[in-house]
């Protein structure tokens, strides 16, 4: 897994609530058996019309908006557990998703793929949306070590929560398998106590 420490970059505002993983990557693209190449179909049915033409109203198709940070509406990533959603977002180039609320499974999937979910207050989210819409060149700084997110050119910033263990994993590029394998003997000992059920 790629290491993550800090990022200072422009962001794309996706001002839609309840973005479900079926929108992030529709089911018909889940037939692959590896993790690569999902980025070309991220938000497929919002980026393209049914006839294949580009939907110029969708924010990812508006040339003024660019960057590895996606700022999205409340309850991002709800619905299906498909990790393909996290793979599609990272493959497209996103490194951080900002929202006022994340669905559980998506949040875990993102963290397992080096994609940082940053949960901010609804007020700060609104400020981010407005500021980026007004000036798409606005830089956003995400500092994982300090657990802060700030808007450059203003002194507005917020701190965000992340599980201490997951933070260590993100900063060092570790994953859960390494840790679980190191606990194999403890797990085997536990299995012997499992007789009750």
């Amino acid at each position: 897994m790629e290491k993550f420490i800090t990022l200072k970059a422009t962001a794309i505002p996706l001002d839609i609530e309840n973005v479900d993983t079926d929108q992030i990557i529709p089911a018909r693209f889940l037939k692959a058996t590896n993790r690569d190449g999902f980025g070309k179909n991220v938000f497929r049915d919002w980026r393209f019309q049914k006839d294949g033409s580009v939907n110029t109203n969708f924010v990812l198709n508006q040339p003024q908006f660019d960057g590895p940070i996606l700022v999205a509406g409340d309850n991002f990533g709800c619905g299906s557990s498909r990790e393909h959603a996290a793979w599609a977002l990272t493959d497209y180039g996103f490194k951080v998703i900002v929202s006022s609320f994340f669905a559980d499974i998506f949040k875990g999937n993102a963290l397992n793929n080096g994609l940082l979910p940053v949960q901010v207050s609804p007020e700060f989210l609104k400020e981010l949306m407005t500021t980026i819409a007004a000036d798409p060149k606005t830089k956003i700084t995400v500092d994982l070590e300090a657990q802060t997110i700030g808007i450059d050119g203003s002194n507005h910033s917020e701190s965000f929560e992340i599980d201490a263990y997951k933070k260590t994993c993100m900063i060092n590029g570790y994953d859960d398998i390494d840790y679980l394998l190191s606990k194999k003997e403890t797990i085997e000992a536990f299995e012997k106590t499992l007789q009750a059920y």
Binding site: D22, G108, I187
Partner: protein, 460 residues
């Protein structure tokens, strides 16, 4: 302080706790399917890690399978390859697989309970968010991502932070025509699609106590649609009776010992939940969704709310509905009875009971997709197929089908589908398709009438 049902099962599975971090939770059963497992197999192979406990894994092919002509080779090359890869991975790793055509094949959340793989007090995971279904047995069951599938392959464990506890209590007598699907759609419409995020839910009260196991599975299945990782119902005599005698259920003395243990699992009287909701059964009516998430539901007698915000308006625009209007009388051309929410034998009995002696409206394409080969066999054995055939309904072969439209079972652009599935997201049943979630009874009535009707007027 007393413990909740969830606490008891969780605590019994904690292997270890990391200081200021997650816990290592032991997983009893790991269910896998063709779509979310291949990358996990690849990862283990690349890292040269063996599968730790292959005998605790059961595989089925369901998401991407055709629902007609299952005996023929699959036409779609990518789908075929995905199924071939599942078969090869299972064979290589000695994992039990109920592949397409096997007498136990079916949707993972229908197949495992009916085989007795699902039992009270267990921890069960699957790379599928509707794994919450198995909570109907008093089981901690939840959906996981593919990285976590790989973790369970490697260690039979997951690193997790214990979720908070939530209880939804519904007491009273359900009205005529109100089914378990209506109960859960009602709950989600009241508390919203993210009220359960960060929580594990317990459903309590006499409405759930009086429900069949099939009904309880329908309710627990949709826990994820209110954001909860899982939902549970305390095991009782209904549960024990359902499990008893099933293929992989404990037998004889061992069964009695398990029952004695399972009886200790229900929530203690003095246990405290982090959040509680109470509802009155009498307030529930047959439900329908009008928008693009499962929380956007109304009672059949209600009108679409007059809410003003961008996301709400985007949803109504997609559905081509107007604020303040009723859904009664809307012409419908597609009906789907199936999915891990409503494809068990009880769902088809309810549909057949309504359909018997009637005919499907000419404008409607009505697909009935059983949840498993065993359900399919039972439909034929009980004479329900004859009823469906006479009425012009099409009984197809088992699979996830039009719930997520990953195979060829897609609803055309712009068409409405009254569906017994679990998600009405944009494009879920096909690009541009418009989904209205409902119970099997409402779906059957829609197919017969060719439009949405107030079923309560016929029943009362």
């Amino acid at each position: 302080m007393g413990k909740t049902l969830f606490d008891k099962v969780w605590d019994a599975h904690v292997v270890d706790t990391i200081d200021n971090g997650p816990q290592i939770l032991y997983i009893d059963k790991h269910l896998i399917h063709e779509v979310t497992s291949p990358q996990a197999f690849n990862e283990l192979e690349q890292r040269n890690i063996p599968i730790f406990r292959p005998d605790q894994i059961v595989a089925t092919a369901d998401h991407n399978t055709p629902t007609i002509n299952q005996h023929l080779p699959i036409k779609d090359e990518l789908s075929r390859k995905q199924l071939e890869q599942l078969s090869a991975n299972c064979k290589k790793n000695n994992i039990t697989l109920y592949e397409l055509g096997h007498k136990y094949n079916g949707i993972v959340h229908v197949m495992a309970p009916e085989l007795g793989i699902t039992q009270p007090g267990m921890t069960i995971v699957c790379g599928d968010s509707h794994t919450s279904t198995h909570g109907a047995f008093g089981t901690i069951a939840f959906g996981i991502g593919t990285s976590q599938v790989a973790q369970v392959f490697a260690s039979q464990c997951l690193l997790l932070t214990k979720p908070k506890s939530l209880r939804v209590t519904v007491n009273g007598k359900l009205k005529n025509g109100v089914l378990p699907k209506d109960v859960i759609l009602y709950i989600i419409s009241k508390i919203g699609t993210n009220a359960g995020t960060g929580y594990f839910c317990e459903y309590a009260g006499d409405v759930f106590e009086n429900m069949s196991m099939e009904g309880r599975m329908t309710v627990c299945n949709m826990s994820i649609e209110m954001g909860a990782r899982g939902g549970m119902i305390a095991p009782d005599e209904t549960t024990f009776e359902y499990v008893k005698g099933r293929k992989f259920a404990p037998k004889g003395e061992e069964f009695d010992q398990k029952v004695a243990y399972w009886k200790t699992l229900p929530t203690d009287d003095d246990a405290v939940f982090d959040k509680e909701y109470h509802f009155d059964a009498e307030d529930i009516e047959p439900m329908l969704t009008y928008g693009t998430n499962p929380g956007m539901g109304i009672k059949i007698s209600e009108f679409i709310p007059e809410t003003s915000d961008a996301s709400f308006e985007k949803a109504l625009d997609y559905m081509n509905f107007k604020k303040g209007e009723t859904l009664i009388g809307k012409p419908i051309n597609f009906v789907f009875i199936g999915s891990c929410t409503n494809s068990r034998i009880e769902d088809f009995r309810i549909a057949a009971n309504y359909i018997k002696g009637k005919r499907k409206a000419d404008n409607v394409t009505a697909w009935l997709v059983p949840g498993s080969k065993q359900v399919e066999a039972q439909i034929i054995e009980e004479g329900l197929k004859a009823i469906f055939d006479d009425a012009g309904f099409e009984l197809r072969q088992p699979g996830c089908s039009a719930c997520l439209a990953m195979n060829d079972d897609k609803i055309p652009q712009g068409e409405y589908c009254v569906s017994t599935s679990n998600r009405n997201f944009e494009g879920r049943q096909g690009q541009g398709a418009r989904t209205i979630l409902a119970s099997p009874l409402m779906a059957a009535a829609t197919a017969v009438e060719g439009k949405i009707i107030d079923i309560t007027k016929q029943l009362n």
